[in-house]
Symmetry: C2
Subunit: 379 residues, 2 copies
Amino acid sequence: MKIALLGYGTVGRGVDEIISARVPQVQVARILELPDRLTGPRMTSSYEEILDDEKIELVVECMGGVEPARTYIMAALAAGKHVVTSNKAVVAAHFEEFARAAQAAGVGLYIEASVGGGIPWIAGIEKARRIDEVTSFSGIMNGTTNYIVDAMRRQGAEFDDVLAEAQRLGYAERDPSADIDGIDVANKTIISASVAFDVACEKDLPVTGIRNLTKADLDLFAKRGRTVKLLGRGTCRDGRYAVAVEPVAVGEDSLEACVPGNFNLVTLDATTVGELRFYGQGAGSLPTGNAIVQDVLDCATGARRPTYDFSRELTYDPTLLRADYVFRTTAELDGEEPFGEGAYLVRDLTAEGARAILSEALLADPTSFMAAVMTKVTG
Amino acid sequence: MKIALLGYGTVGRGVDEIISARVPQVQVARILELPDRLTGPRMTSSYEEILDDEKIELVVECMGGVEPARTYIMAALAAGKHVVTSNKAVVAAHFEEFARAAQAAGVGLYIEASVGGGIPWIAGIEKARRIDEVTSFSGIMNGTTNYIVDAMRRQGAEFDDVLAEAQRLGYAERDPSADIDGIDVANKTIISASVAFDVACEKDLPVTGIRNLTKADLDLFAKRGRTVKLLGRGTCRDGRYAVAVEPVAVGEDSLEACVPGNFNLVTLDATTVGELRFYGQGAGSLPTGNAIVQDVLDCATGARRPTYDFSRELTYDPTLLRADYVFRTTAELDGEEPFGEGAYLVRDLTAEGARAILSEALLADPTSFMAAVMTKVTG
């Protein structure tokens, strides 16, 4: 099968490397790049050339960002080409539109690499759903923030120092906002919920990152046998569903607590199979490249032709996600109980309600931090 | 697709329940049972009836034990029927024979449910191998022994008391030898290695269980920040491979240490995807039934048609697996260093060498216990 790569950054090069070394039945025939980066005969800066080449049956979009990725994906689908993408931002924003276009053209839409890097998470959810209903999911879906929290905990270091170190090692972007403010996890949560619950997931979900997490916060939770992880999660029952992204104080003997460095851990709960968890490298050239090549092979061999019709009549109901929350803030709170130095527990809030309280607290104290306190992260 | 079940115990009933409730495209047409257990019109005690029924395209063997399971599986394959089995004992003993017969007949041999219950482990290894070489694997593959070790650790209880409780709860057999002596894990390790390394795995591997594990042993390791888990593992490099089953003293902050109750955690390491881990219910009617029904669906939809030819020219080389070992024994050892009360560390042994030392020590002290000390359980 002949394919084209759109973009030749870290991920694109990983795909090219894996295919040329290990997958003889697939050929990277064309690569779309900027006019000043055309370094070989396969490269072109004209997308029309790729679209018009009927021998190219599949397009791998690994450019990142929403535009022109969205336009290119829609054009590929309209031209009857299968699409594989690792671009969580564009899938989270336009999943329904892509799914409809793929269905209309009778081609496959493959998004494994958009969540969890090399972890077979999207295909794993789809497989579970052949038999089961997926009732909930949750996960450490961002390696950068897990690296930061893990290093803070192990080294007893402060957020800013660890972030600087992560930037030096290339684990964090120069502008780390998408990671540390939970935006990347929100995109992955929207995609996971769409696949798990078969719904065009609500995009206006409560999102809180770990920007304000301090060493003192981790110490406070450690005294209670807990540590903090940034989790995306979703639940679905009785025709309703909810999603959220927030720091969660998990037990120190939970699997989440033990996830080291920039690894990911994603969990689903389903009717007959029960709790299933997947762990691996959530980013990086080769793991993400591997996920893309697995999607390409699923397409080339016919093993898997994912289609999403989002036909379930589900209502978004943010009251489904409830927990006790700890706030560390100098702002005044309602109904709080002391939880330690400068921190307070407020019981039985919705994720949305907790986020509203935090937003209010941040106006008075911009360093305010909050975490949900949970024993079980799914269900 | 019409299928037949061989056996209607816990697993067979789980399969029947899942298919009738959730999988309309598959029909359990016949069920083989003993003459005194024929409780409905689908049931028969004549295997010939099933073999001769050309409408039955697939046979699910969930009887357990080696015979008559082996004969029935061979007959089904010879009759051109696909086979799905959850029976680790028969697959471990006759994998190569089954694989050859399935290839000759042009039918599929599906063994997902034989290792790790509802965890997509076998399909996960096969998927990784489409692109990567699997260089090593390891896992908590036996829920009973994990339940025992986990309960001993959490409750500070002795082995015999926890085993009795596990038997009462139905987590352990009345004769628990296959679980606590590592035989069940050995079967699953043989199967995993065969799939991971594409080799008819050596069956004479070093196997040590946890029968002699005491609360004092766990306390001793806890002082060093470790706990004990029964692991099956394998490694493959430079045309050679090795496998072993033994207690391993893992770090308390490892994912293995955090696996609760009767859950399983299995890990593979592969060329481009790196470390991948899968966690879930390793046994039980519905999780194992789910794995079987997934195999049936893979067959019915054509998504996956596993064939095993074991054509790689690999040499079994037990010297590949090396570690430091702790022995708790009153027997005399060579080259030992003190490790704590009554326990000794011997450095850089092969798994086979360590097993030989333990066997010798057991003659002098039948309560002797040993564990490999490892930081990373794959690689």
